[in-house]
Symmetry: C2
Subunit: 558 residues, 2 copies
C-alpha cells in the first residue's frame, strides 16, 4: 500500500521579511518532522511574501530572496519541503522548489500568471513552460502554483495526459472575498476528478495591505472527496495520511527521484474543521486584515472616533477582536448636532467593549475656523462647507492624538459611503486604515447583529443598529435625505461596481431610472475621493483600490 504523511504549512508570511519568512518556514519543517511527515508544503512565494509588487523590480530583493532560500535549503534534511520563492534574475519566475537533504531537487515555474483584479503577475514574471513532477518514494507528484490549477487546461488534471500524477501539490496565495471559499473547494473537487489525482492545496493566511489570505488549505482525493479542510483565517499545520490505491503511474516525466526516509509516525489528532457562514467569514476577514495591517506596520494601539453610529461601532468591535480591548481607544467628539442618543450610545459601547474612552468637543475649533473665514465668507449661507469643517475638525483631533501618542487612526466609512462619496476627505476619511471600507451598509447591520450573537450579549446597543443612519452634521440630518434607502442603494452599487452593469441593465433589475443614474453619477464623480482614502480590507469580489482601476478624469456616462 502506497502512502504518505503530508503537512500543509498554512503560515502567515510578511511581504519583504525574507529572513522572518524563512524562519517561520523552518519552524514548520521542524514541526512536520516531529509528526513524522514525509512532505511539507508551503504557500506561494513563501520566501518573499505575497504580493511583493514592485519589490520584484529591485535586483537586491531578488538576490536577498535567493540567499534566504539557500539558508532554508541547507536546513532541510530527510523530509521533503516544497517552498515558494522568486527564481531567476534576468527574467524572473514565480517558483516552487522541491527541497530534500540540503538540495533543491526540482523547481517548477508558475505557468499561468493572473493579471486581472488585484493581480499584476505579468508585470513581473515570465511564464513557466513545462510542468514539473517528481517521484517521492513510489508516489508521482506534480507541481502547480495557484492559478495553474484554476485554469482548465492543467496538464496534470487530465486523465489522458502524459503528466498524470498520484498527487498534485498546489502552493497558493489566494485572497479572500465572499464566496471564494466555496469557489475554491468546488474547483479542487472538479480538478481532482478530471485529473483522477489527489490534490494537496496550501493557501497563505494573513493580511497584506488590502488583501486577506484566508487559509483554508485542503486535500482532495482522486474521487473528488475532501479529506481534510484546514481552518480559515488562522495559522495552521494540517497533517494527514494519504493512502494511494492502485499502482503508481507508468510514465511520469519526473525531474527527480527522492527516496523516503523511515520516520516514526505518531498518531494524528483529528483536525477540527468548522463551517462558517458568509457573515462569519467577513467578520473574521475584517479582524485578521485589521490585526495584520496594524501589527505588521509596527503599531500596537488604535484610536477610533466613536459617533454612536453603527459604522464606528463595528470598527471598534472589530478592533477589539483584532488587538484586544487594551489596545483600542475611543474618542467621542460631539457637536451641537449630535443627538443625546448617539452621544450616550458611544459611551455605552466603549464601556461594553471595555476600552479607553475620551470626549473632546469640536465646537472650539469649529467656531475658530468659522471666525477665521468670516471675512471671506461674509454674506454667504452655511452649506456643505461647514458640514465638512466639522468632520475635518474631528479628523484633525484624531490625527493629533495619533501624532502625540503613536496610535493609528482607524477610519469608519463603509463601502456604500465610499461608493457615493458620502464621506469627508480629510475628515472622517482621515486615518491609517479603513477596516470596513469594502463592507456595504446592509452587511454592516448584519455584522453588528452577528457580533452580539457571538458575544451572547448586547455589547452593541440595539439602538445603535436600529436608529436611522445620520452623519449628524446639520440639524435633523438623515442619510436618507441624500441617498436612497440602503436596501435600494446597495444592490444598485453591487450591480454597478461588482458586475460592471450600465444604467439600462440596472434599471431592468427593477430600480427607478433617475435613482440609478444619480447613484452611478455620484460613484463616478467621487473617484477622486477614493483615490485619497486609506487602505482597507477587501471582502467583496471587487473592492475599490487596486482591484478597480478607474480614471478620475472620465467623461463616460454609463
Amino acid at each position: 500500500m502506497r502512502k504518505l504523511r503530508i503537512t500543509l504549512a498554512q503560515i502567515n508570511t510578511t511581504v519583504g521579511d525574507l529572513c522572518g519568512n524563512v524562519d517561520k518556514a523552518l519552524d514548520a519543517v521542524r514541526e512536520a518532522e516531529s509528526l513524522g511527515s514525509d512532505l511539507v508544503i508551503f504557500p506561494e512565494l513563501t520566501v518573499s511574501g505575497y504580493p511583493p509588487e514592485d519589490l520584484l523590480l529591485k535586483p537586491g530583493f531578488i538576490k536577498g530572496n535567493r540567499s534566504a532560500l539557500e539558508r532554508f535549503v541547507e536546513n532541510v534534511g530527510d523530509i521533503t519541503a516544497v517552498i515558494g520563492f522568486v527564481d531567476g534574475s534576468g527574467p524572473i519566475y514565480n517558483a516552487a522548489a522541491v527541497v530534500n537533504r540540503g538540495e533543491i531537487r526540482c523547481t517548477h515555474h508558475k505557468m499561468n500568471l493572473p493579471n486581472y483584479g488585484v493581480f499584476d503577475e505579468k508585470r513581473y514574471f515570465a511564464e513557466g513552460e513545462t510542468p514539473q513532477s517528481f517521484m517521492l518514494g513510489d508516489i508521482a507528484v506534480g507541481l502547480n502554483i495557484c492559478e495553474d490549477t484554476w485554469v482548465g487546461d492543467c496538464p496534470y488534471c487530465s486523465l489522458y495526459s502524459d503528466h498524470h500524477v498520484d498527487l498534485l501539490l498546489n502552493l497558493s496565495a489566494s485572497p479572500f472575498h465572499t464566496g471564494k471559499v466555496h469557489e475554491r473547494a468546488e474547483m479542487l473537487r472538479r480538478r481532482s476528478l478530471e485529473g483522477n489525482t489527489c490534490i494537496a492545496y496550501t493557501n497563505l493566511v494573513g493580511g497584506q495591505d488590502e488583501l486577506v489570505f484566508d487559509g483554508g488549505s485542503m486535500i482532495y482525493n482522486r474521487r473528488g472527496d475532501c479529506l481534510v479542510n484546514g481552518p480559515l483565517f488562522s495559522d495552521a499545520m494540517i497533517t494527514h495520511d494519504i493512502v494511494f490505491d492502485g499502482d503508481s503511474p507508468k510514465s511520469v516525466p519526473e525531474s527527480a527521484r527522492i527516496t523516503l526516509a523511515e520516520t516514526s509516525k505518531a498518531p494524528l489528532k483529528p483536525l477540527q474543521s468548522s463551517e462558517m457562514s458568509a457573515d462569519e467569514e467577513i467578520l473574521e476577514a475584517l479582524v485578521l486584515g485589521t490585526r495584520d495591517y496594524i501589527r505588521k506596520n509596527g503599531f500596537s494601539r488604535v484610536v477610533i472616533g466613536l459617533s454612536g453610529g453603527i459604522d464606528s461601532t463595528l470598527v471598534a468591535a472589530v478592533a477589539v477582536q483584532a488587538l484586544g480591548k487594551e489596545n483600542v481607544v475611543g474618542v467621542t467628539m460631539p457637536s451641537k448636532y449630535t443627538s443625546d442618543g448617539t452621544r450616550s450610545d458611544a459611551e455605552i459601547l466603549a464601556n461594553n467593549l471595555g476600552i479607553e474612552f475620551h470626549e473632546i468637543p469640536v465646537s472650539t475649533a469649529f467656531d475658530a475656523f468659522k471666525d477665521s473665514l468670516s471675512g471671506l465668507f461674509a454674506g454667504r449661507d452655511e452649506d456643505v462647507t461647514e458640514e465638512n469643517l466639522q468632520a475635518r475638525v474631528r479628523g484633525m483631533l484624531l490625527m493629533a492624538l495619533s501624532n502625540k501618542f503613536g496610535w493609528l487612526v482607524l477610519t469608519t466609512g463603509n463601502k456604500s459611503e465610499m461608493a457615493t462619496g458620502y464621506a469627508t476627505l480629510y475628515g472622517d476619511m482621515a486615518g491609517g486604515f479603513a477596516s470596513i471600507k469594502d463592507v456595504p451598509k446592509l452587511t454592516v447591520f448584519r455584522l453588528c447583529w452577528l457580533f452580539n450573537e457571538q458575544a451572547g450579549s448586547e455589547i452593541i446597543p440595539e439602538s445603535v443598529i436600529t436608529r436611522p443612519p445620520s452623519a449628524e452634521l446639520r440639524p435633523d440630518q438623515k442619510d436618507s435625505d441624500s441617498l436612497p434607502e440602503y436596501d435600494i442603494l446597495d444592490p444598485i452599487l453591487k450591480a454597478y461596481i461588482e458586475d460592471d452593469m450600465g444604467v439600462d441593465n440596472i434599471v431592468a433589475l427593477g430600480f427607478d431610472r433617475d435613482t440609478v443614474k444619480r447613484i452611478v453619477r455620484l460613484c463616478d464623480l467621487t473617484e477622486y475621493k477614493r483615490r485619497q482614502a486609506p487602505p482597507g480590507v477587501k471582502i467583496t469580489p471587487r473592492a475599490f483600490g487596486r482591484d478597480r482601476r478607474l480614471p478620475i478624469t472620465n467623461r463616460f456616462r454609463p
Copy 2:
C-alpha cells in the same frame, strides 16, 4: 513618382468622451481634406481616449466606443483615415481601423501590449496575431500601434521581411518623461533604417490624470532622416508631402486596396519646429498636465496656499500659465513662525503674477485645537503634533475655500518631499491636484530661474529662490535640519526610486552610508502617506503612483 500627402492629427482626446473624441477626429478629417491630404492618422485609442483603464471591463463602454466609431466611419469620404478604437467584445483588442468611403477597409490589432511602468494593457487586451497592411494607390502601408514599433522584432522593420512596406503608420499614446522625446526620435530613426521604410508616427497630446502625452508626432524617411517634427505639448495638424522613390514592394500581404481620389493640393506652409531644453519640456508638461486635469474635470479656478517658499511659488506660476491669472487665487496663512521675508515674498509674487490674493491667519484655529487638546496633552512637550496641526489648519482653510467657492486646491509638495514624507498628510498634502509632486527639488529651483528667464523679468522674487528652504513650522526651522542638502538628497532618491538601486550600490556612487540608509528608510516608511496623496504630473521615468507600486506593509530593507 509615387507620393502621398499625409496629415498627422495630433489631437487632445479625453478618456470616456466617446462622442467628443469622434467629433474632434471628424473636425480633423475635414481640415485634412481641405488641405488635400490623402491620409490622416490619429493617436492610439482615439475613440475611447487613453488609458481607459477599467472602463474597458464595462460592456457598455465597449459598445459605446463601437457606435462612436461607426459614426466616424459613416462620415469619412475619399480621404483615408486611420483611427484607434477598441475592437471585439469577448476578447478585446487595442485596434486601428483604416477607414475610407464609409467603410472600414482593414483593422490592425496591437501585437505588443506593454504591461510595465504605468501600463496595464495585458489586464485588458488580447494580443493581435498578424500585422496588417494595405495598398493606398501604389503605396504599400503597414500598421503599428505604439509598442509594436518599440519592440525590436516588428515584421515591417526588417529589410528581409515579407511584410516590407513603403510606409509604416504608428498610432501612439506615449506619455512624457524627461528624455522621452529623444528616445522616441532615436527609436524611429533606427526602425526606419532597419525596415528601409518611411514611418509616420502620430502621438496623443494632452493630460490624463497623472500622465501627460506630449505629442511631438514625426515622419521619418527610409534613410532615417526626420522629415517633419510636430510641436510638443499642443494640438497640431502636421501635414507633409512624402515622396517614395523606387518601385512599390513586390509582395505585400495587403488586406485592402484603396484607390486614391484626385484632390487639389494647396501648397503647404512649412511647419515651425522648435527644440526645447529638458527644463522647458518639464515646464510645458506641468502646465499642460495641470490645465487638462482642471479643465477636463470641470473646474475653472484654483486656490494655492502661498507660503512665500519656492514650491508654492512654482505651483502658482505654472497655474497662471495653465489657466490664466484670473483663475488663480493665492492665500497666505502666516503663523508666528513665518518670517517677514517669506510673508512679503508671497504678496510680491501674487502681485507680480496678477492673481487674487488673501491672507488668513492660522493662529485662531491653531490655538483652538491646542486648547481642545490641552487636557489630553497635559504634561507633554510640543512636538511634531503641533507642527502638523499648523499645516492641517492651513489645509482645512484651503479646503473650506474650495467647498465654498468651487475652487480646486493645488498642493505644493515636490518629489523630494513626497519621497521622504517631508509633508503633512491632510495638511499641505490636502488638495485636488499636486502639480509638482514628481519634480525633484533641484529641478524646482531650475524651473523658477527658467520661468523668470522666459518672462524676461523677475516675476519670481530672487529671494524666494535663494532663501534656504524651510517648512516654517517651528522657530528657525530649515529643511537641512532633517534632510541632507538637496544636491545630496536628490541623486540618492533618483538612484533608489528610478534606478532600483540598493544601499550598497548607492553608497558606491560616493554617498555616506548612514545618510543613504536613513533616506531609503524614510522613503519606505512614508509609502502610506503617498498612497493618500492627490494625483500629479509624471515627469520622471518613474513617478510615485501607478508607476511605482510598492506595498505599504513591507519589511524588506534594501
